[in-house]
């Protein structure tokens, strides 16, 4: 029973981070209909920024969010201006290949700059060393903090999209790009903003993951591209609430598969397979997502 509760809570905590990654991808897809295959690589960039801030400036990994968010936001806008915007009208085929190519470039630039070795991020202090004991259940404080920061970011984004004028114009653009343009919304600006926020969310997720992983390497982001897609397909493309639920669902599925998958089926190492199988099943039987509906 204790294993069960432990697994359940771990799943939810990881799921919060998956949700954040999925939401970033969702922003970009919702507003521009561009599927960003470089998303996982952007998570990796966020992790490297955190490592740089930690090991050269001595900044606490969680505090480095104040660096990651703005830097990645600007990076997103640059990517948008230079690469994505010129291909917005190109066939989807080319857009996918372009973002895939950008992902490869990011990973290999990291490889060139920092080598393929693990770079350690091992801060000490009560936040990082201590655990919370509730009966037989043991929880890392850092996981809890990462989860709550992810929740705050998600909530802030939700508020931004539903309450502010710019947020509303983003949702309008997501619903109908042409109509939004006719209503006087600067669609180009909105797209840049969406990419900026999407990339910043990926970077923030990277920052929050760093103290949990405690290490960074160039290929660490690769699994997150696919995970992000699983999240948004589960939750329905374009929906923030959907992505949050989808992220937590995926976190739970992976946690339980990791804890309970029998050895003859590959054990814990094969746990991600369950997420992918659910992904395929959802695509097959309910392509609009489990909670499909509104976009953004």
């Amino acid at each position: 029973m204790e294993t069960f509760i432990q697994t359940f809570i771990t799943g939810i905590l990881t799921g919060g981070l998956y949700a954040l990654i999925g939401i970033g991808l969702n922003m970009v897809f919702g507003v521009m209909r561009v599927v960003n295959f470089a998303h996982g690589a952007l998570v990796m960039v966020g992790m490297y920024l955190t490592w740089l801030a930690f090991s050269f400036l001595g900044i606490d990994p969680f505090v480095s969010l104040f660096i990651t968010l703005p830097v990645m936001f600007v990076f997103g806008i640059v990517l948008q201006r230079v690469f994505i915007a010129p291909l917005l009208k190109a066939p989807e085929f080319n857009q996918i290949l372009l973002t895939e190519g950008l992902g490869i470039i990011l990973v290999n630039v990291a490889l060139l700059l920092f080598s393929g070795n693990y770079q350690l991020v091992n801060p000490s202090g009560p936040l990082y060393d201590d655990v919370l004991r509730l009966g037989g259940v043991v929880l890392d404080y850092k996981r809890l903090v990462a989860f709550f920061i992810a929740l705050i970011l998600t909530g802030a984004l939700f508020w931004f999209l539903s309450r502010t004028d710019i947020g509303k114009s983003m949702r309008a653009t997501a619903q109908d790009r042409e109509a939004a343009r006719l209503m006087g919304i600067n669609v180009r600006r909105v797209s840049e903003l969406a990419m900026g926020i999407g990339v910043a969310m990926a970077g923030a997720a990277g920052t929050l993951l760093t103290p949990i992983y405690q290490r960074v390497e160039p290929f660490i982001g690769a699994p997150f591209t696919l995970r992000a897609f699983v999240v948004i397909v589960l939750g329905g493309l374009g929906s923030i609430t959907g992505a949050t639920v989808g992220g937590i669902l995926l976190g739970l599925v992976e946690a339980f598969a990791g804890a309970y998958n029998p050895t003859f089926l590959g054990g814990a190492g094969a746990a991600p397979i369950y997420g992918f199988l659910i992904f395929l099943a959802v695509l097959l039987f309910k392509p609009s997502g489990l909670f499909g509906g509104s976009r953004l």
Binding site: V35, F83, P86, L87, A90, E92, F93, N94, I96, L97, L98, E100, G101, L102, G103, I104, I105, V107, N108, V109, L111, L112, S115, G116, A222, L226, F229, V230, V233, F264, L265, G266, G267, G269, A270, P272, I273, F276, L277, F279, L280, L283, L284, P287
Partner: protein, 354 residues
């Protein structure tokens, strides 16, 4: 031109094409004998490179049937490559049967799995299809890594190369004492020639027209009575079987398989790049792309870990500046030159050959 043209001039041109192709294949088949004569023992490393170039051309050609003709972007083709390699490797390592059987069983398994995958994924379009291919490749990768009793886990399987020899012994009267890669070379060449012939046949056949119609617009294709799912499935199965065949061959040639060599994600991308850089949707583009990119890769081996950077940069550059690949670019250039020349004569435009 990718479609069939008629009339005496076209027929003559086609006949010239057949003769030229036959001459090239013959020259390629004789090449290793010359190499062994000239280079002696050193010929083996040259042959290894040539085999890589030939299989790359085959892989690009196979991917192109689905990706180029039908416009379905698979980023998970390594799954079929790996399935072929594992099927054939398991046959040798566990059962010790002849390598030829692997070349048969590998594609069969690849084709069967492709049928299943197609059934699931071809209801989906665009990014969903692409994502499913990645997900399935990832599932197979993880299975190969974790089902240790069967697959040997992360370290994979290996066997004595003598077990996976297509010839009992190299014909000594032909190559002297060099322990040879020549038979492997011939098999690789045969496989790639078969792939190119199939690709050419499809391009000039009804199936090719259907696939291109689907690529241009799935809804319109359906409206004019094309069974989209069936056609896409056909393209996928052919493509998968060819890739699995090459994977099976590669396993025999290397004498070892492991998840990180035959199922690694970057291999999928490499296959796509062969086709895209050469020229998607054409018969010869993927061949040219495969050969050139393998040479580039060989030249870049010295750079070390980050050699994939070049692939990424090439991909972005091609998407931006040369969407038709090298072949497309060359055609545009040629067309521009000939138009200029044609404009100088006073022939009416309608009489000019397209």
């Amino acid at each position: 031109m990718a479609y069939m043209e008629f009339g005496p001039a076209a027929r003559a041109r086609r006949r010239r094409g057949y003769v030229l192709s036959a001459i090239i294949v013959f020259a390629l088949a004789v090449l290793p004998i010359v190499l062994v004569e000239v280079q002696g023992r050193r010929a083996n490393s040259t042959l290894a490179l040539l085999i890589s170039m030939i299989t790359a051309a085959g892989l690009g050609t196979a991917w192109n049937i689905l990706g180029g003709y039908a416009g379905q972007l698979s980023l998970g083709h390594v799954a079929f490559y790996g399935l072929g390699a594992y099927a054939s490797g398991l046959l040798i390592e566990k059962l010790g049967v002849t390598s030829w059987l692997g070349l048969l069983v590998g594609p069969l398994i690849g084709g069967l799995v492709a049928l299943g995958i197609g059934w699931i994924t071809f209801r989906l379009r665009g990014p969903y299809f692409t994502l499913s291919t990645i997900a399935i490749a990832e599932i197979i990768f993880l299975l190969s890594k974790t089902l240790e009793p069967i697959t040997g886990g992360s370290s994979g399987l290996s066997w004595d190369l003598n077990q996976s020899r297509f010839w009992p012994r190299d014909p000594q009267w032909l190559f002297g004492p060099t322990p040879g890669r020549v038979p492997y070379y011939w098999i690789a060449l045969a496989i790639t020639v078969i792939a190119v012939i199939i690709s050419w046949k499809i391009a000039h056949n009804k199936l090719g027209f259907y696939l291109r119609a689907i690529r241009e617009d799935q809804d319109t294709a359906a409206t004019i009575g094309i069974n989209n799912t069936r056609m896409k499935l056909t393209a996928l199965v052919i493509s998968a079987m060819l890739v699995a065949l090459i994977g099976a061959f590669r396993a025999n040639f290397e004498g070892a398989i492991a998840p990180d060599t035959v199922l690694v994600r970057s291999k999928s991308l490499e296959i796509v790049l062969f086709a895209i850089i050469g020229g998607m949707g054409t018969v010869w583009g993927p061949v040219i792309g495969g050969v050139l990119l393998t040479l580039v890769g060989e030249a870049l081996r010295g750079i070390g870990e980050a050699n994939q950077l070049v692939y990424g940069v090439l991909l972005v550059l091609v998407i931006f500046f040369l969407p038709g690949g090298l072949l497309g670019g060359a055609k545009t250039l040629l067309a521009r030159l000939t138009t200029r020349r044609a404009n100088q004569t006073n022939q009416p435009a309608a009489l000019r050959e397209a």
